[in-house]
């Protein structure tokens, strides 16, 4: 009787251990706002920053004063990355531009795609495929009246097994004609990670 029980327990234990021998990793979708897993900059930090910056800019009294009843043309310059990490700054400014575009407060131009604009206009003018009455001629594009730019900085400290990481996103909105800063804000993020005493 006892031997049977012990045998069954042995089989069960072996079966449980074998489940760890699968070669394919387990993959599942997780929420966009997941809990932090490292002290580095993570997608949820970027999402929070973009949301905060968009809300701050849209609700700033100085912005309404500068914008008035017009919809000024705005360009968004990629943020400068002054950290030691690789962060896709263009992706951050793309997200911010998307949120501001939905507010209807601004019109946008994109300097980064000007090269493609020239290629299109050049091919329309020179390849002989386009009806020249319908071809888009250079020199008609809107000019940016304001631009949005900023920087990401970090301070990292390590004491023993504890890593303290601080990030700061700073952004400004500048009026190109007057040179005045219409809006400025910053978002701070501080994370701490503690390495395990024993690990490989």
């Amino acid at each position: 009787m006892n031997k049977n029980w012990i045998g069954m327990a042995g089989v069960a234990a072996a079966a449980v251990m074998m489940t760890g021998c699968a070669t394919t990793p387990t993959v599942r979708e997780v929420a966009l706002d997941r809990a932090p897993i490292t002290s580095k900059l993570e997608p949820q930090d970027v999402r929070r920053t973009v949301e905060k910056m968009a809300e701050s800019l849209l609700s700033a009294p100085g912005v309404r004063e500068a914008v008035g009843n017009t919809r000024p043309v705005l360009d968004v310059e990629p943020l400068k990355n002054r950290t030691t990490q690789h962060v896709d700054m263009v992706s951050i400014t793309d997200s911010l531009r998307m949120q501001l575009l939905r507010s209807g407060l601004f019109r946008f131009v994109d300097k980064s795609t000007s090269g493609t604009d020239i290629e299109f206009m050049d091919s329309q003018a020179n390849l002989g495929l386009t009806d020249q009455r319908k071809a888009i001629k250079p020199g008609q594009q809107s000019a940016a009246q304001m631009y949005l730019t900023g920087a990401l900085t970090e301070i990292k400290n390590q004491v023993g097994r504890t890593v303290d990481q601080y990030y700061k996103f700073s952004m400004i909105l500048k009026d190109l004609r007057s040179g005045e800063l219409v809006w400025a804000d910053e978002q701070e993020i501080r994370k701490e990670s503690v390495k395990p005493r024993v690990g490989f």
């Binding site: 929420a31 966009l32 809300e55 009294p61 939905r102 507010s103």
Partner: protein, 140 residues
């Protein structure tokens, strides 16, 4: 025989505890404010969170043509609380606006302290706001 029963009991207890680690409550407190009528509804779906955080005050205004809501949350505990909150917006037809752009933000609430959280609709179509507060452990 007694030893085997004891062993089986221990195995069952371990299996039960393992199964329970996945049981994190993700329900929380929801504050819905209709900015056209001014009505506010507070739903406290988590008994645990209800005992930790209270909704003290709800104010709303308009800035640059966009609706804005301010909600004051107060801790009823003496220790530090780590929470997540998110404010989402709905249009006049009850459709959620840009659901993927409104993120959960971290709120660290000191003992017996009160903090006001603010949300701005990023479109003039937003007329109803919904604040959702959850325990930090509810995050994946």
């Amino acid at each position: 025989m007694k030893r085997i029963n004891g062993l089986l009991g221990a195995v069952a207890l371990a299996a039960g505890l393992t199964a329970l680690t996945g049981c994190v409550e993700t329900a929380g407190t929801v504050v819905t404010t209709d900015h056209t009528t001014g009505s506010t509804v507070v739903l406290e779906d988590s008994t645990r969170l209800r005992g930790q955080v209270q909704v003290m005050k709800v104010n709303y205004d308009e800035v640059n043509g966009l609706k804005r809501v301010h909600i004051t949350l107060a801790s009823t505990r003496h220790r530090r609380l780590r929470l997540h909150y998110r404010i989402i917006w709905f249009d006049a037809n009850g459709m959620e606006l840009d659901p993927d752009t409104k993120t959960y933000r971290t709120l660290i609430l000191e003992g017996r302290d009160a903090v006001t959280v603010t949300g701005v609709a990023n479109s003039t179509a937003g007329v109803t706001s919904k604040l959702r507060v959850r325990d930090l452990e509810a995050a994946d």
